[in-house]
Symmetry: C2
DNA sequence: TTGTAGCTGGGTAATAGTCATTCAAGTATA
DNA sequence: TATACTTGAATGACTATTACCCAGCTACAA
């Protein structure tokens, strides 16, 4: 049994296809086939059922694949140990970011990070919290930036910052005269929401639920960008809520429509999430340090109340 | 990096000697040297400092060795998974037993076990609890039978049976007239003890301590076997304590000197101990099942009070 | 000096890899 | 229903690599 064989097995398990798995492993299909077979011979079990299409994994196979994941991850860790010892921070690092954070946060820290750690090859992927969790679990992402708390087994959360919710209330709205917003004012049927799948949407809904103002779910209009929501609000379609960082880039004539909440300000917790096994932890720590230090300047810490990003499902 | 290379590194780390490590790994010394070097080259660190004699492990080396142990153990587990799936119970299994249990317990279960699981190659080693713990930790023993509770991190304890202490009180002893012994009667200066290193000795001392009858530590005579202790007692050198199973094989004319304790009977807990990683767990479970079922017939469960086997150190 | 212990060099056998081909199963076409 | 067509894994022949052995060298301590 070799680590290579285990890696091949993992590739096949992932892609359910020998040819594709071979490509991803940068070898030819016969090579990969042979090695998988050799492992199966050595253990004297069938890991894959090749008679079905697409191929399936046998019962033992599943256990073996799980264990193989362990072993391969632990083996990778050795390189980590050496890197850490040398104080070397470099190599590929894949980071997921949720859509509502991406456009505001990324420009803030990206430059500083690649300047400070030029040997790290950052690969950034925008994706939903759900996909991100899956990818962190199976190692396709080294870390992710998402709204927390998620409290998922095998995943660690390290808060980066707390981002207050800010109301965007156009002139003619019933709340336009209020000085500060209160969650009691909110009515979910009146708030323009992001599309399904965005966790900020869930956050807003949870916020409204908290004040029991949920009057049936006849949300009228939904969009994928805050820009659209603001425009719709200006058109008199209702109010909307924005994460604080998204309010910084608004045009001056729109900023006057912004309203803060009374304290404790409802806020979302944005965290770096990564697998408990702490692979590439030195890069993760470096990243956390850079982001925290930068955001510290942008958001004054105050009396906040964290709103959960989780939906009913 | 291959699993073989890691195994070689572990062998060198253990024996602090390339030649010996090579022998134990069933390869020649140059072969092993080369593979270790290759790994060092790949990781670009020195794992061993060959300039010192005996060779030492570098700082990074220690971390690498620890991680290598993980990886190799996890890799072995794969075979375990397969065996478990097939319901196959076989292969080498190394078991440690403490000296005071060995001669009585081993003959009771050995035959039954090898008959029931003929494919398991049992390798039994008599050793002190201290050595046993070390060996279970580093994988040289698959399990051990010892007096518990030990409560050691990374080691699991599964009790097999509770073995009462029985007094051996010769005719002219001050306690000879008592019907049942009480811990209050005991005086450690009057009790013949096993040599240092036996955990049963510690158990007896703890038992006496419990009744605060420790009048200074002027133990006169110490021996390595219960047989000697009994003979010495017959010679009027004092009384002694035996584990229940050791009383079964006494000659009839000596059995009349045996005295039980009042309930709750002081007893030692004998457990199967093994590493938390649960390697070869199916064999361990099989062993536990066989021993428990056999001992159940020999020792009637009663109202017992467990005496700790641990000394001051 | 001798013994101990690791490294080096040359040769061999095992094996991980390649390419080209074959085989099996499903799918479309006549 | 038979026929070709496509997809995806297995097989065979060959090559490159490498893990291994043996013999000998070197460094060092007793």
């Amino acid at each position: 049994m070799t680590i290579t064989q285990l890696q091949y097995v993992l590739a096949v398990a992932e892609h359910k296809n020998f040819t594709l798995a071979a490509e991803k492993s940068f070898v030819t299909q016969p090579t990969l086939s042979m090695q998988v077979q050799k492992l199966e011979d050595e253990l004297d079990v069938l890991i894959f059922d090749r008679s079905k299409k697409p191929i399936t994994i046998t019962e033992v196979g599943k256990k073996i694949v799980d264990q193989a994941k362990n072993i391969v991850a632990e083996a990778e860790r050795i390189k980590d140990i050496v890197d850490q010892d040398k104080g070397y921070i470099g190599g590929d690092y894949t980071l997921g970011i949720i859509p509502t954070v991406m456009p505001t946060l990324l420009p803030m820290f990206l430059n500083a990070f690649i300047k400070k750690y030029p040997k790290v090859n950052l690969i950034i992927k925008e994706q939903s919290t759900k996909t991100m969790i899956k990818n962190v679990m199976d190692g396709h992402l080294d870390a992710g930036i998402a709204a927390t708390p998620l409290e998922i087994e095998f995943i660690k959360e390290r808060p980066l910052y707390y981002e207050p919710f800010v109301g965007y209330v156009p002139k003619n709205h019933r709340l336009a005269s209020e000085e500060l917003l209160s969650t009691d004012h909110l009515d979910v049927s009146d708030i323009l929401l992001l599309q399904d799948g965005h966790c900020f949407r869930e956050g807003v809904i949870n916020l409204c639920k908290a004040s029991q103002n949920l009057r049936g779910e006849h949300f009228k209009i939904e969009s994928g960008s805050f820009e659209t929501l603001v425009s719709l609000a200006d058109e008199g379609m209702g109010m909307t809520l924005l994460p604080y960082l998204n309010t910084l880039h608004l045009e001056e004539n729109k900023k006057i429509n912004l309203k803060s909440f009374q304290k404790p300000t409802p806020a979302r917790e944005i965290s770096l999430i990564y697998h408990k096994s702490e692979l590439k932890i030195q890069i993760t720590d470096a990243l956390r340090e850079v982001i925290s230090s930068i955001v510290r300047g942008a958001i004054a810490f105050q009396d906040v109340k964290i709103i959960s990003p989780l939906g009913k499902n």
